[in-house]
């Protein structure tokens, strides 16, 4: 593994056993790597396996009865040690999750516990991973909340999730993910549930924090507009496989795979109609609708 590489996924296969002996092969031979301070966007439509691939890095899919059929995931920890994630005992994984790798999910309301205060929930991760007292953890948590630019952070620490707006909740989830300064942040559609003005704020925040902390980011999204805003490298996934990979400029300026081209041409571009007097249809895109 290269000196700057944080995570190296090689030929990952994940499947889910279904009823009557059927098997759903969700991820079929996916490989990618991310270097320190870089952002890789994993793009694809719903059901393409992008979330399963990312969550397997944290070994979260096994709780959903997934079977990891093959492959290797090397992860560089903050200590500099490199581990093979797929062969670690689960007790060791618990030390790594939330400390060396963190994840931010799409829906901030279901990621937060409704009966604990914001302060308690951020402190919990710090007490678990950093060997601090609760009082020290509260101070670090407050700093984390200020880091994600939550206004009036001291008051917010004592509030409950339902008292916050969607954008504020997502900031809290990001604060929890970043309070231990992970080497890899997995962001699984973190802005899909948010309004576009809030989305712009959260994307700017993630980019800014990446500059400050220097972490690698694995960004999962289906929105090519978001990809253009945040990514250094892009992997396009379809039906469990990576069909194209390249720098963000390669993908947008010279897409090779027909699916990538379809994905890009279907994205409405604000300003593309500025000189047109009348509404216009989207360019015809040939894709096959796929069911499960």
């Amino acid at each position: 593994m290269n000196a700057n590489t944080i995570v190296d996924v090689k030929d990952l296969h994940v499947s889910f056993p279904l009823e009557q002996g059927k098997i759903l092969n969700a991820v079929k031979g996916v490989s990618f790597q991310i270097s320190e301070g870089k952002t890789l966007a994993l793009v694809g439509e719903s059901g393409s396996g992008k979330s399963v691939a990312a969550m397997t890095i944290m070994r979260l899919t096994e709780h959903d009865s997934a079977v990891i059929d093959g492959g290797k995931i090397d992860l560089r920890l903050r200590s500099g040690e490199t581990v093979d994630v797929l062969s670690l005992p689960l007790a060791r994984m618990n030390d790594i999750r939330g400390a060396d790798v963190s994840i931010v999910f799409q829906d901030p309301m279901s990621s937060l516990n409704p009966v604990f205060t914001i302060g308690d929930q951020i402190s919990e991760a710090i007490v678990r991973h950093q060997n601090k007292t609760e009082k020290q953890a509260w101070e670090i948590a407050l700093n984390a909340l200020q880091l994600v630019r939550v206004p009036d952070a001291e008051r917010r620490m004592k509030q409950y999730p339902h008292q916050l707006s969607g954008g504020m909740r997502q900031r809290v989830v990001i604060a929890i993910a970043l309070c231990c300064r992970p080497s890899l942040l997995i962001a699984d559609e973190p802005t899909t549930a948010l309004d576009v003005t809030i989305q712009a704020q959260i994307l700017d925040l993630i980019r800014n924090l990446q500059n400050e902390i220097g972490m690698a980011v694995l960004f999962i999204t289906h929105d090519m507009g978001v990809v253009a805003e945040v990514a250094d490298f892009v992997c396009v996934m379809k039906q469990g496989k990576i069909v194209e990979t390249g720098t963000v400029f390669d993908i947008f300026e010279a897409p090779k795979h027909p699916y990538t081209r379809a994905l890009i041409s279907a994205v409405p571009k604000l300003g593309s109609m500025i000189d047109k007097d009348h509404p216009e249809k989207f360019p015809v895109v040939e894709t096959v609708e796929t069911g499960v």
């Binding site: 439509e45 719903s46 630019r149 939550v150 206004p151 707006s165 954008g167 504020m168 309004d195 576009v196 003005t197 989305q199 712009a200 704020q201 994307l203 700017d204 925040l205 980019r207 800014n208 289906h222 929105d223 090519m224 507009g225 978001v226 990809v227 253009a228 805003e229 990514a231 963000v248 400029f249 947008f252 379809a262 994905l263 890009i264 279907a266 994205v267 409405p268 571009k269 604000l270 300003g271 593309s272 109609m273 500025i274 047109k276 007097d277 009348h278 509404p279 216009e280 249809k281 989207f282 015809v284 895109v285 894709t287 609708e289 796929t290 069911g291």
Partner: protein, 320 residues
């Protein structure tokens, strides 16, 4: 009746409006306790006025909670407006008899966001499409079934799908089914409430193209409600931007997109991610302003600033 895009625009200037909304106000009281004490009020829609002309698309854009869907529901009178006037082809529709209301609703049909919950899982597609025609006594049963098959073909599905149940279809196909169901009533206006928001982007493009084809062929007006500014720029003839229950800017698409006047419109447009990595913004905006809540005390009196004229077809609300 086939109309080209140009015909539509010319007709907009000369024709009478299909739907006239004037000073529409919809509020919801929050009550608690045994006697239903009103402890708060949501000012969802405040003094909204606009017209929709035959064959045009008016897009309503805004963020969640700004009252877009409440406007749609108020027009259908699924939520009763507090005050205001809704005229359809010159006829007032607020406070009319249930029979007249039913006839009015036939002309206006809604397509909702979630195609999974808007189709009955126990009803075959053929029956689901034929049902509105039977309820409105448009056609006898056998003919309604025949028509359902034709409508399915019209939206790009096949007649053989009639005997299947909704679970056999993908999200995009279900949304096509919902569209064919409303076409059975020959509506003059379709209200599409975030009708493409839950679809993948390639499917979204196909469904929008279908709506535009239908509009060109049948001359149907569209009230297209969306939070996605880039989609709206593609489909709309005119655009209304909503903020906190009010329309803050309304005008023809070209003028609003080229020359947005209201600060909120400008902020909304500049927040849309540009799908071109060369145009990535270099400076990071770490602001954290939030939209205020529409929930207020019951005795709250909202302030209304007047609309200013930018051009003959473009109006903006004055800013304080």
């Amino acid at each position: 009746m086939k109309m080209s895009e140009r015909d539509v625009t010319e007709q907009i200037e000369t024709r009478k409006p299909l739907l006239e909304i004037k000073d529409l106000v919809t509020r919801f009281d929050l009550k608690n306790g045994l006697f239903g004490r009103v402890y708060g009020r949501i000012f969802a829609v405040e003094n909204v006025s606009f017209n929709i002309y035959p064959g045009e698309t008016l897009a309503l854009v805004g963020e969640s909670g700004c009252g877009k869907s409440t406007i749609a529901r108020s027009i259908m009178q699924l939520d009763r407006p507090v005050s205001g006037s809704i005229k359809f082809e010159g006829q007032e529709t607020i406070g009319v008899s249930p029979k007249k209301l039913k006839a009015f609703r036939r002309n206006l049909q809604m397509v909702f966001q979630d195609p999974f919950s808007s189709l009955n899982p126990r009803m075959t597609i053929g029956k689901a499409i034929a049902d509105p025609m039977l309820v409105n006594k448009l056609l006898p049963s056998a003919k309604a079934k025949q028509r359902a098959g034709e409508l399915l073909e019209r939206v790009g599905l096949s007649r053989e799908h009639m005997n299947r149940y909704p679970h056999a279809f993908s999200g995009g196909q279900r949304q096509r089914i919902c569209i064919s169901r409303v076409l059975g009533l020959d509506p003059k206006l379709i209200i599409a409430d975030e009708a493409v928001a839950s679809l993948d982007v390639t499917i979204q493009a196909q469904v929008i193209n279908l709506l535009m084809d239908l509009q060109a062929d049948l001359g149907i007006s569209l009230l297209f409600i969306s939070h996605d500014v880039a989609v709206v720029e593609r489909i709309a003839h005119r655009v209304a931007v909503m903020y906190l229950g009010e329309i803050v800017e309304i005008g023809d698409r070209k003028s609003v997109f080229r020359n947005p006047q209201h600060p909120y419109t400008q902020k909304l447009f500049s927040s849309v991610p540009v799908p071109d990595p060369r145009l990535r913004r270099s400076e990071l905006n770490l602001n954290f302003d939030e939209i205020p809540s529409a929930l207020q005390m019951p005795d709250f009196v909202p302030k209304h600033l007047p609309m200013l004229k930018v051009s003959e077809t473009h109006f903006v609300r004055e800013t304080a």
